[in-house]
């Protein structure tokens, strides 16, 4: 599964478990308006660490939290290289 698909799929699972109404997901979706709260993001980052083997927000001090979903996926794609 591509990183983008993994990220989107986990977001959908988490939204369902947390009973959050998700905005339509695309690269331009602004994370703050996606429907997920900070707890959901914390869970997402933990799950992605287990699935992809990396938590780019903890390993690099340079990374500021991404604005859009596309930026978010790119952070993981860069970390996987």
């Amino acid at each position: 599964m591509s990183i983008q698909l993994t990220v989107f799929s986990e977001i959908e699972k988490i939204a369902a478990q947390h009973h959050k109404k998700l905005a339509p997901l695309s690269g331009d979706t602004v994370l703050m308006d996606s429907g997920l709260d900070s707890l959901c993001f914390a869970v997402l980052v933990a799950r992605l660490e287990d699935q992809l083997g990396v938590d780019p927000f903890s390993t690099s001090e340079e990374v500021s939290f991404p604005v859009t979903l596309g930026d978010f996926v790119r952070v993981y794609e860069n970390a996987a290289k």
Binding site: Q17, H18, S38, A42, V43, V45, A46, R47, F65
Partner: protein
Amino acid sequence: MAFTGLLKGSSFGRRLGDFQGRSVLVAPRDQLTAALAMIELDGIARRLVICPSDVPPDHLRAIVATAEVDAIVSDCGTPDPEALGIPLHIRCSTALAAQDEFPAASRRTEWVLLTSGTTGVPKLVAHDVASLTAPIKAGAGAPVWGTFYDIRRYGGLQIFFRAVVGGGSLILSSAGEPVAEHLARLAARGVTHLSGTPSHWWRVLMGQAAQAIAPRYVRLSGEIAGQAVLDNLRAAYPRAGLGHAYATTEAGVGFEVDDGLEGFPAHFVAAGDGDVDIRVEDGSLRLRSARTASGYVGTGAPALLDQNGFVDTGDMVERRGARYYFVGRKDGIINVGGLKVHPEEVEAVINRHAGVQGSLVKARKSPITGAIVVADVVLKESPDGRDAGPLTAAMEREIIDICRRDLAPYKVPAAIRFVPALPMSAAGKLLRHG
């Protein structure tokens, strides 16, 4: 063996006097030998450091330095006195050598016990025979005590003193002995009173040999006893008295509860136990009595007693109606974006799933909320074969569903890992990293 043998003999082969005024590391591998050494050295050494046999070498070095140890008692080659820089080394044996004259035993010897339950260097807790025997009331009859503990930790030492002071006898535990064999040995000796942690007792209940013994009194201490273990023990031993004692190495024995319910009656606070003053402050349980340790050993060690002489046990309690319940360790609290989670509460919910044998909840660092809750889970039966993947995934979903149903969202584990076993200390407690 009968301790009255020590009236006419010594385990030190005439070298008992060499220990006058010294700080002694009591380190025989064998518990009975250690017991003889402790009895003989009290009043002669200035300090006894009671050392269980599972202490790792680098912890030993730190302990020897902090306690200013200048003598060691052992029954074999380890630990190595030279490696530890200890000048005096005397062998101790259960084969008593006859002796007519004994050095005067006039000192108030400090008994130093090690804390247990975390994985860091143990703290050194200073007691003496007065504080250690304060909880013990001489009773009628000659009980035959058994214990799962090592007598070199506070819980086991209490049972040792009960047998020695109370006129009964004690069947020692044996490191690494399978539960079924231990129970058979206890049964053969006619055990009447048996003490262990909830983890020890779960191992008995889950094995096949629980009915090998017929104790008159079942005792739990060392970990918080939940309702499940109490109910299961009541069902397994319906004719036995059932009591759980709250005690810590620092605070000593606080109180005992024998109504078969978890937690303790609210009237214990303020009324106390007679001998023990009990308070709850900022949600944590505080105790003051003649049974508490006098302090920690070592320069720079934290103060043990507050200005009123109370020990903060670090156990958080919550009052519901006429009862207090234990909700978790203060130092185990997980902070999820400012909201507090007790791992014990989440474990209790996970353990409600019928397929779960046990769980250990921990914090994982989160760049977003500071920490997040994760769980290691042991299943009663691990799925294997081709269906293992989907079955485990289904278990995980069911466990999360139970957590969602019974817990606020920030307490629900973000990730679950299935493990074959949970770490347990030699003292019989679930090991949390502390």
